[in-house]
C-alpha cells in the first residue's frame, strides 16, 4: 500500500524496537571489550583511558536507545559519583603511596616494602592497578558529562 510522506511521519512510534534490540545485543560485548582493553593495557594498544571511554560509550549507547531515565536505572547517579571518586582515589592514592615510601611519584618498585615480590612484577601490576582507577574515573565522568549535556543539566529526558 502506497502512502504519503506525511502519513509515514505520523506513524513513527515512540519506542524504536529495531534500535532497542540491536543495542541490547551489543552492549555486553562492548563492555567486555572495554574491560579487555583495560586488562591488556600493557601488551596491546589501549589502557585505562581508552577502556574507560569504551565502557562509558556503552552506557551512553543505552541512554541513546532507551532514553536517559533507563540508563540512570542501569547506573544510578550515586554509584556514578562514588565510582568516579574511587577511581580518582585509586590513581592518586597509589601514586602518593609510592612517593610516601621514598620513591618517585608513580614509581611502583618501592611498593615492595608493602608486599615483598620482585620490583619488576610490581611495575606491571602497579600499572594495572592505576589503569583500573583511571578506567573507572574516565567511564563515570564520561557518562555524567553526557547526562548533563544531553539534558541541559536537568537530568530528565535527554536526547
Amino acid at each position: 500500500m502506497k502512502i504519503s510522506m506525511q502519513e509515514a511521519r505520523d506513524r513513527i512510534p515512540q519506542r524504536d524496537i529495531i534500535l532497542e534490540t540491536t543495542v541490547r545485543l551489543m552492549v555486553p560485548f562492548i563492555q567486555l571489550y572495554g574491560l579487555y582493553v583495560i586488562v591488556h593495557g600493557h601488551y596491546s594498544p589501549g589502557g585505562g583511558f581508552q577502556g574507560g571511554v569504551v565502557l562509558g560509550a556503552s552506557v551512553i549507547l543505552l541512554a541513546l536507545a532507551f532514553g536517559l531515565p533507563a540508563s540512570k536505572e542501569y547506573l544510578t547517579e550515586g554509584t556514578d559519583i562514588i565510582m568516579a571518586n574511587v577511581g580518582a582515589l585509586i590513581f592518586t592514592g597509589i601514586a602518593a603511596l609510592c612517593a610516601l615510601l621514598g620513591g618517585m611519584f608513580l614509581d611502583y618498585s618501592v611498593l615492595t616494602k608493602i608486599l615483598p615480590i620482585d620490583p619488576i612484577s610490581w611495575r606491571s601490576h602497579g600499572i594495572f592497578l592505576v589503569e583500573v582507577g583511571v578506567g573507572m574515573g574516565v567511564m563515570t565522568i564520561m557518562v555524567s558529562i553526557y547526562w548533563d549535556m544531553a539534558s541541559a543539566g536537568r537530568l530528565d529526558e535527554g536526547l
Partner: protein, 108 residues
Amino acid sequence: MNWIVTFLLVGGVFFLAIGTIGLLRLPDFYSRLHAAGKCDTLGVTLLMTAIALYNLHAPSFGSVLVSWKIFAIVFFIFMASPTATHAMTKAAMLVGVEPWQKKKGTRK
C-alpha cells in the same frame, strides 16, 4: 589461495567504489542511503574476509584467533550498519527532508 584473496579484495574495492559513486550521483538523501547502506556493507565484508583468509596462510593458534576477531568485526558491522541506516532514515523523516520524486505533474 592468493588468487582467491586478490579476487575478494578487488570485489570489495569495486563495491566500495560503487557506494561512493552512488553517494555522489544519486539525487536525494534517501537514495544515497541505499548506496551507503548496502554496497558499503558488502564491500567491507568482502575485504575483511580476504584479510582474514590471508592471515590464515601461516596458521598458528594466535592467527586463528585474530581471524575470528576480524569475523567479530564483520558480525558487528552486519548488525550496526542497518541500524545506523534506519536511524538516519527516521531522523530525516522526522526533520522533514523531502524525497526526490518523479515529476508527473503531481508533486507533493
